[in-house]
Symmetry: C2
Subunit: 202 residues, 2 copies
Amino acid sequence: MSSRPEVTMAQRKRQLVSNELSEAALQLLALKGFDAVTIDEIAATAGVSKRTFFRYFASKEDVVVQFLADMGTGMRAALASRPIEEQPSASLRHTVWVSMAACADHSDRALRVVQLILRTTALRARFLEHQDQWRDDLAAELAQRLGLDADTDLYPQLAAGMALTAFDAVLQRWSGSDGAEDPAALTDRAFATIAPALDSVE
Amino acid sequence: MSSRPEVTMAQRKRQLVSNELSEAALQLLALKGFDAVTIDEIAATAGVSKRTFFRYFASKEDVVVQFLADMGTGMRAALASRPIEEQPSASLRHTVWVSMAACADHSDRALRVVQLILRTTALRARFLEHQDQWRDDLAAELAQRLGLDADTDLYPQLAAGMALTAFDAVLQRWSGSDGAEDPAALTDRAFATIAPALDSVE
DNA sequence: TAACTACTTGACACCGAGTGCCATGTACGG
DNA sequence: CCGTACATGGCACTCGGTGTCAAGTAGTTA
């Protein structure tokens, strides 16, 4: 009854508050450590109330990790966009590479976020939760592409898991080297190792 | 200056309270769902105070997941006990198999615990945290066995990740089938898929 | 038996995360 | 100018988790 595709002012304001919040959170968390920062503190820094914080983010972890939510569907879409004739290892390699590229692009910010996540227990746990969801998504897409039954065949789940294992390893090296190592090269090396298992069809 | 290797009565009492607590927790959590049960409730059922609960378990999740803590060192030990000449896929297959067997043994209880963990978000997150730790342990052991540098070579981390991916898939099927499917057969099938990547040394 | 030590427990106060509720303010459409 | 829809802040409340202290109990020594 009312929603115009136009960007209303309320929406822009909402976006602004959201940015303000993530900005404040990221700075404080990286500076003082995850546990040493309260939500009241973050909210106050952003100039809003604690109650408002929770209208934008579901939890303290979410303010850092939220962007991972879309990444799962993004990966599935990336996989779906590959030609069906392509070898699974190539399709998955591309899928992982796209996600890594998304990180490496805005490397200044993304690198800091990733490092914060990987070194903070609570955040890492949320990251793993998301990754677990991605695996299901990728497995479903793989099963569909290959015409396999995901309930009997182990391959889709295993292949998705291997791809994400590679992703994890690459992300860890990349963050550990402060962004110095090349994500593309890392991805290729990782997939060179796991490919033999990915492509052993029959 | 006082600790005898004898089992003092205090220790037995302590063990008894611990059992009482896990028992109460498991029953209530499985019955009413993780979020619908408070710690006061669990403690009251076990006949102790909330404060005492936290003297035995670090968190609400821990009372269910605690036993996973040792499993990591157990897996590393299992891997370390394999002959060095053995192919990595065989060593890791055995490692995973041992852990699965530990579950399948006391299948009545273990099955219920695993099912509870896998279907509860908060518990699954803790499970993934532990698994993440296991991966580091396994990777370290693998690197040592193969004389690789874990900081440059991706193989140890990838191989450990693949093995745990297999473990995860097997566990999921086993729990999904209410223990009907054979863990050993499942493990073999999973490793048949990933083995080509594990053994492609050079 | 008395006294001293070590350990476990419960009660209480406290903090922080997260939620429900309600009153207020403010953009937008008629 | 008015009504609606929405964003916000304040407040009270629940629950997970921790620090502290006083009390109780088992085991030891004299």
